[in-house]
Symmetry: C2
């Protein structure tokens, strides 16, 4: 894609340092790095090609996992009759404040207003009921990639936007056991995506009852730690029991000919994950992108004036061709009107994992200068004729480095907290591993005082019992849970 | 994906023959073949996995062409402030009757109503103006895969639905020459997609002024002939001149520092193309799918009872594994409760190009029985151990056969028409190649009498001059044009 070199209102002088004001850093960075622009309607975003490419790379990987496990992609209408939406009581209560409603169409007032989908359980439930008759039709495994709308009062690019992109899986099963297997499969797929593509060392587990999806029996989540110590929920999977099946009449004949309700699930991963990538890896200089989702894994900057410029540009193009053939996403920055230093800063801001510089002296020595975005900061020279062969390994190492760095950060900012006194400090900069009584009023009191909420009951935490760090009542859940402030 | 074997209200007794009632055939077939279901809101559709997979296969191919040519995918918001939409006079006049409007959101009446995009020139124009400053920012080549909404009074699955899926390319260029090059590039991409994937022998060319996109200087189209002789426009590409650039202030500094307007284009291909596939290749028995977009290219039906059933099912699974490794999309229909004859009919209805039957006798002879969906109708035996190796060639031949068959059909149903007398007959069953005066009132009179409209001024028609077949005035366009009834 061509490079839009200027951004009108936004200066190219870098962003507010992360350490100084995390929130300003984030808001400036997503715009300056040309991931997004603010939409014309409050809370909406324009995802620009550099940001959208990251979404496509996440999407391709997750879609492969979804298909491999036997799900079929479908496309349900985004306009849902208001009456459908109102059938499941908890569901409508949870989503009502966030709905956008179409009342006029084709020049006329509509008889029944149409809700623009905030999620599709209700419309898909209607069709599951129609399509499922026998136990032989189960499991019914559907997924869709779609845009959804939730009216946001405190919008933030990627994290909470009025319209966002996601996939939503919707499945129906013969019994709880099979539906729970599916629920956990989706959770595992999200955890795999987060770890392997986004290099985010997420914690998987169940949500406490107060944090469940509206209408779910059980909600599972993956939570990542951002560099300000907050948690980001970046994918959820719900066991819906027979709640929606009862309301939408999703029944099947079992092997004995008896009519019984199906058990359903739903699960979603959204453009929010990109916000997670930015806040997990970014630093004062800008984005740091994991190679597996970086639009450009390598940028080559040819250096030199006049006739040297022609030589190095030609060498850069040749090398780019070789890297492409080796499966590397590469871009040659040959803009003649800009100085190398300017380009270096720009590609650092945009988080490109590896920069290759080719100057006349590099060429004379048959070499190219390599600079990683993070980690081993010193530049090094590598042989020009081996660069394409070495690059996949260099990128894999960088991907692994980012994961390890994020994991270390998370572990350093997570601590067991036994008492209420020590709690505010810990959640001001990280996560607290605590025993909690499980009572909603106790959760509410903690939230009111510290803004921290129960994020997850980690699946792999050991069995332990104790007393609630705040109220002293016996602990629930049979293990410690993670508490944090969150996005 | 699991097979939903029953469809409630729809019988599996086959569809109305195409020759008897083309329209009933189409409407019944898209539902029975499980491509789509009717949506809950009038004019909307649910695209089921079998239909959506075809869309994904088209999408993957076209997306590759779009990226290869240097375009970046993006995602613009679907809610457009009404005021943006009203800026280009012709554009708003063309689309106003079809708009869906959000007036309530987050529990409140909105100050400014939001139009749900019917197309995105207006919102993308706003951002082009923001992002383009210098000639170095051009061309700006954007594309998005999106859902759009146009309120339809006479909806028909795939062809005209209230919500549909498409891609819309939007590009800005320094001058007319570069913008026209882009316009023709997109037209060529659509023609390639139609011919190579959908096996539709489309005719490319320009639209007459009356058939232009609202706001365009020039509109180009690809038109395919359906088996009832009507034309289907299945992709359009527009040169917008500086119309949108002037309204949205899309300007750039040229090399001399002068501020000038950019020239823009837009182009779209939608789920309509799937309607074209169905109506180009289908027959009385049901769908006939081109292998390159068939969800299943091959279905294997194991045959036999009791212990023979186990043997043939095992052989079917082994063969499916081999075919998958050879890159073939294959499905084993091992539903034990259904007879082979029922399965054969069902997969014929669903248009699978090749069926392989494995019975005990086939197995004893080391063979498998092959039946093509069309063409060489006789079953033949092929060696079981060579089936995977032969299949890609068999599928390629079938793809080519469908193209040639459709091309022959089109040519047999297209004729030069010199007089008004002969015209109604020709357009009742095919296309008429005519000289036309180019006057709108003459076009209108023809349409009022016969429902036929000018479909395309074919790019590759030879230069010829004559007199209008209806009014006798000198011909316009410098060549014959195609007239037909259309969808």
């Amino acid at each position: 894609m061509p490079w839009a070199g200027t951004l009108g209102s936004v200066s190219r002088e870098g962003v507010t340092p992360q350490s100084e004001d995390f929130s300003a850093w984030y808001n400036e960075l997503v715009i300056q790095a040309e991931l997004v622009d603010r939409g014309p309607v409050r809370g909406t975003m324009v995802i620009r090609p550099y940001g959208y490419r990251m979404w496509e790379l996440l999407q391709a990987d997750l879609d492969g996992r979804i298909k491999e496990a036997g799900h079929g992609n479908a496309c349900f209408p985004m306009f849902i009759p208001e009456s459908y939406f109102k059938r499941e009581a908890e569901h409508v209560e949870g989503f009502s404040p966030e709905l956008a409603v179409v009342t006029v169409a084709g020049g006329k007032e509509l008889e029944e207003p149409l809700v623009v989908r905030p999620t599709s359980e209700t419309v898909i439930g209607e069709y599951m009921a129609k399509w499922i008759e026998s136990h032989r039709d189960l499991p019914l495994l559907l997924n869709q990639w779609a845009n959804v709308v939730r009216w946001e009062l405190r919008p933030r690019m990627f994290l909470r936007t009025t319209e966002f992109l996601w996939q939503e899986g919707h499945t129906a099963h013969a019994d709880e056991e099979d539906a729970m297997r599916e629920t956990m499969w989706a959770l595992g797929a999200y955890a795999g995506l987060a770890r392997e593509l986004a290099a985010i060392p997420v914690i998987e587990g169940e949500k406490t009852p107060s944090e469940r999806f509206a209408g779910a029996e059980r909600t599972y989540t993956i939570e990542g730690m951002m560099r300000d110590g907050r948690a980001l929920q970046s994918g959820t999977s719900h066991y819906l029991g027979t709640n929606f099946a009862k309301v939408f009449d999703i029944t099947y004949q079992d092997e004995d000919g008896k009519l019984v309700h199906a058990h359903t699930t739903s699960w979603g991963m959204s453009t929010r994950m990109l916000g997670g990538v930015i806040m997990t890896h970014g630093d004062d200089k800008g984005l740091v992108l994991p190679p597996r989702i970086a639009p450009y894994q390598v940028v080559i900057v040819p250096i030199g004036r006049d006739e040297a410029a022609e030589r190095t540009a030609a060498a850069a193009r040749d090398l780019a061709g070789e890297l492409k053939r080796a499966g590397v996403r590469v871009h040659v920055d040959d803009r003649s009107q800009l100085r190398p230093g300017y380009k270096f800063n720009e590609w650092e801001l945009r988080g490109v994992p590896v920069r290759l510089e080719i100057g006349p002296r590099d060429l004379d020595g048959g070499a190219v200068t390599l600079a990683r975005r993070l980690g081993d900061q010193g530049k090094e020279q590598i042989p020009l004729d081996r660069a394409a062969e070495l690059m996949p390994g260099i990128l894999d190492d960088f991907q692994a480095f980012l994961y390890t760095r994020a994991e270390r950060f998370r572990d350093e900012h997570t601590a067991d907290v036994e008492s209420w006194d020590a709690f505010p400090d810990q959640v001001s900069q990280g996560w607290a591993r605590v025993f909690h009584c499980g009572r909603t009023d106790c959760e509410d009191a903690i939230k009111a005082d510290t803004a921290a909420t129960p994020r997850v009951i980690p699946s792999d935490a050991p069995e332990e019992h104790g007393v609630c760090f705040r109220c002293g009542e016996p602990s629930a859940y049979g293990k410690r849970i993670l508490y944090a402030r969150s996005y």
